[in-house]
Subunit: 207 residues, 3 copies
């Protein structure tokens, strides 16, 4: 399997896993089959849609072929059928979600560099690609997005995107850098959940 | 009246009705005159704005002429003046809203096909055009969007968009297909409200 | 200092002040350092991002250079370090926020005119540029946006954008018109806060 084919498959896997996060939330909120489909698609595709609309890359990858939509809808279907079983697999779902986060961060940063963005904007667009879908998903059910509530979620995406951009500045080969970035982002995310890491907050006045 | 002129008028009518839904929500939430204007415009134009930004069709139709904005603001003005009277006409407002939903679904899917999108993405963009304005409207007042709460809302849009795309695949004339799609979507929506249809949910564990 | 340099500096100042509004909200909501960074960037850049995506001006100004991101992140850092001190300066922060509102309204309307939009859409896009960042900021923490809750917030932006567009129709020089528009918008906003102005609401039935 060539690296490109691998990345395409991982990208579809990331889309499926993000779609699953939307579908599971929809089931928990007791939404019907169309609500499940809407949240699956929103969670899986919004990050990439925002990225491509910001870059002027139209039609966006998420709509240029049917495969991303099919992956998102397949996740919705899986949650419809097997919701209680998936709920029990919290650990594998969390690991896959971390992998999706890392993959979306590196592919977002890579695409931003390919469109000529400077390093800092490219990192930010990578983070936005990775956390945007989850943010839209949570906003749709009137919740504060996980990226704001959870420790070390944006940080993991930031690390993945930064590795891609720094490797690009250093003239390193893009594919291994993307792999390293996605792996590092996923590892940090998984470790932070397992070890319950906390990020620092602003010092506050005592009341 | 030529079919194109008819579609333009129906499009403006759909914009007005969607604007009315935003304005009536703003009045119910006790917002002031600017809040009413903001919600009218957001409800009426967001769906088309998202559609056109995703397609790279800039400037978006909603901003390329003043007529859509005027229709949305006229809806805000009508709600300001005649709010209690409009509240009493729930049935005609619901029927017009269903017609707006159908019209936006078919014009969204049609525009996506014209921009070269594949069938499934074209259907999804049609649905997004139809339900996006209402979603932005509800998010702005921190509510879960109607498309997630109400039975058979996304389905009606899906049916309208699918009829347009399937007719296109079958090589049928676009104008009658759009008319049929908008009519079918509106009919399904109205029937579902009158007959209180429920869409299936995912099976859940008993607690 | 040339007018263009002045406008660039004022634009960065507006970005910083809007970023500060996001960062202060994040600190009040007890978010961690990444949540503060996300809300700073969202509040400071979303309005311009939406404006540029709607105009097809890609990459958007907010991502075309690093300076806007740095200004937004600097605001996040300032809030992290000096949150209690900034809280005490409510009056200067409100004045700077009013200035940011005016600046974003006039630069948004100006850019819309430069891209060939008609007068009414140009005014609306100016308002959207000015209030969009705050709306995204508030939606991210599941609050009804300030533009809908606060009296005379959208009106101030509307006035600034309208002055730019009317001056353009009258063939007046753009730079003084932009200065006048930003000043008028900021003045109206500050006066409305100091004098506690109320905008009219729709007449309601008594219960």
């Amino acid at each position: 399997m060539s690296p490109d084919t691998l990345v395409s498959w991982l990208d579809l896997l990331g889309t499926f896993v993000f779609g699953l996060s939307g579908a599971m939330l929809a089931v928990r909120r007791d939404l019907d089959v169309f609500g499940i489909a809407v949240l699956s698609v929103a969670a899986a595709l919004s990050g990439g849609l925002i990225r491509d609309m910001a870059l002027g890359a139209t039609p966006p990858a998420a709509l240029a072929t049917s495969s991303y939509l099919l992956a998102a809808l397949a996740a919705g279907g899986a949650a419809m059928i097997a919701h209680p079983r998936i709920e029990r697999f919290t650990k594998p779902v969390m690991v896959l979600d971390a992998l999706g986060l890392g993959l979306f961060a590196v592919t977002g940063a890579r695409k931003a560099l390919d469109y000529g963005l400077e390093p800092l904007p490219a990192v930010v667009l990578g983070v936005l690609s990775a956390v945007g879908g989850g943010a839209v998903r949570d906003i749709l059910v009137a919740e504060i997005p996980r990226v704001l509530r959870e420790e070390v979620y944006a940080l993991a995406a930031l690390l993945g995107a930064a590795i891609v951009v720094i490797a690009d500045l250093a003239g390193l080969a893009p594919t291994p850098a993307a792999m390293a970035g996605a792996f590092a982002a996923a590892a940090i995310r998984i470790l932070s959940v397992r070890l319950n890491w906390k990020a620092p907050k602003a010092p506050r006045r005592r009341d």
